[in-house]
């Protein structure tokens, strides 16, 4: 149990360090930084590297936005096995749909409770 906490902290932290370096050193905008991390996660997922990382570091790998890219690709690959090319399109949101729906639902609740600023 304890080693898992440790590696979750280290791997999750390292992904954040990469984001911070992109932000501070390479002067990427927050939007560019975020989408680049999604793409990196998707590529790692495509090569089958991200799932072992999740097994190793748990929430340290699933919480950062890179996990979203991994889920997009995994969903597409799974559906592609069953339905071919159309599966690539339908599968992308298969695994990620809960996350996207949660963003919509909680965003809505947040907007009801608070006065949006942005």
């Amino acid at each position: 149990m304890l080693p898992m906490f440790f590696w979750a902290f280290v791997i999750g932290g390292l992904i954040c360090v990469i984001g911070q370096i992109m932000f501070d050193v390479f002067k990427l905008t927050p939007g560019h930084t975020m989408s680049t991390l999604v793409v990196i996660g998707a590529i790692l997922g495509g090569f089958g590297v991200y799932e072992p990382l999740i097994d190793f570091a748990g929430a340290g790998a699933t919480i950062p936005i890179t996990s979203f890219g991994n889920s997009l690709v995994n969903g597409a690959l799974q559906e592609a096995d069953q339905h071919g090319l159309v599966g690539v399109l339908t599968g992308m949101f298969e695994i990620t749909s809960s996350g996207i729906s949660a963003a919509v639902v909680f965003g809505f609740i947040g907007a009801l409770l608070f006065k949006p600023k942005g």
Binding site: F23, K27, T29, P30, P116, K117, G118
Partner: protein
């Protein structure tokens, strides 16, 4: 009257009969709180959007300045104002409320001195009897305009600056009763300077060369020595930009005492207020000059000052397309008429 390459002198000495500054809750905790005519304790200011609050700031500053000058809106020939929102709607909407013939200006944070220079020129050359000029910014409205969605809460580096919630307005006329009054005596219009900085979180460094360029042009055109002024104040160069500008000026051989070289962005907040490098925004130099500095001049602390308002002429789109940030600075000299 044109003097030198890019400066005007105003031999008729337009009189600043009154001025006003309005601020928000963060400014109320700042160093210059006593110099604001109106301070709001809520960023919404009783409005249902920050843009409406932004407009209210400007309306209140102009109405207060007109009132303090014992004038009415009908007496004012022209209003010159600008801000940082797309299509400068707070200024134009305020002009709709006030019903004064209106010039909308955009010079980013240099708008305050663009307005004061043009207002002085109009009065000096009998183009108007009474003119009101103003500039304003609202922290939340401008953050929304220029930054990534504010709720995202992305960190700002220490070089970033804090947009001032404030408005400043000045009322100028061509009266002959000048003794002891504040008058504008000259102005230098800056050219756009771009040394290739493309980081919107480091505006101070981007604007410093523009400020130096305008100050050098001012002293060349007017054949003056920097010692002529009690103070030379830049708009919003803040902690990073101000020392850069001073160094550039000293390299060009202008001997300016660092005690006499100030910056509105460094004057407006307390040390313990977390504003990274300092204040900024079109309302920064306007509120500091038309509130604090004019009060100091009226109290006899300064006789002659040169205010150099600096502006970064970027758009939210231009920096995302990786364009560098073109900058500008305009200078106006204000004196106490003997």
């Amino acid at each position: 009257m044109l003097k030198g390459k890019q400066s005007w002198v105003f031999p008729n000495r337009p009189v600043i009969v009154s001025s006003a500054a309005v601020g928000g809750p963060f400014e109320a905790r700042g160093r210059l709180a006593n110099d604001f005519d109106i301070l709001h304790d809520d960023l919404w200011m009783g409005q249902d959007s920050y843009e409406k609050a932004h407009k209210l700031l400007l309306e209140e500053a102009i109405e207060t300045a007109i009132q303090k000058g014992n004038a009415t809106k009908e007496d004012v020939n022209f209003m010159l104002a600008g801000d940082l929102v797309n299509q400068i709607t707070p200024s134009s909407f305020a002009a709709r409320t006030l019903g004064i013939p209106y010039f909308g200006l955009f010079g980013a944070c240099s708008t305050s001195m663009e307005g004061l220079a043009l207002a002085s020129f109009l009065i000096n050359n009998q183009g108007a009897k009474t003119v009101v000029t103003a500039a304003s910014s609202h922290n939340a409205a401008i953050e929304k305009q220029f930054r990534y969605p504010t709720e995202y809460g992305s960190q700002k580096p220490p070089t970033a600056q804090w947009t001032v919630t404030g408005a400043g307005a000045a009322l100028l006329t061509d009266t002959d009763e000048k003794a002891g009054k504040l008058v504008t005596t000259s102005a230098t219009i800056g050219k756009v300077v771009d040394l290739g900085i493309s980081d919107p979180f480091n505006m101070g460094a981007a604007m410093a060369p523009a400020a130096a360029d305008t100050i050098i042009a001012h002293f060349q055109d007017l054949q003056l020595d920097p010692a002529y002024y009690d103070l030379i104040i830049t708009g919003d160069l803040a902690k990073i930009g101000s020392p850069i500008a001073l160094e550039l000026l000293q390299k060009e051989g202008l001997q300016i005492d660092s005690e006499k070289f100030k910056d509105c962005g460094l004057m407006v907040y307390q040390e313990d207020q977390k504003v990274q490098a300092g204040g900024s925004g079109a309302g920064c130099s306007a509120a500091v000059l038309y509130g604090h500095l004019f009060n100091e001049m009226r109290n006899g602390k300064y006789q002659r000052i040169l205010l150099v308002a600096t502006g970064a002429l970027l758009s939210p789109l231009s920096f995302q397309q990786k364009e560098s940030i073109p900058c500008i600075a305009h200078a106006v000299s204000i004196e106490v008429h003997p």
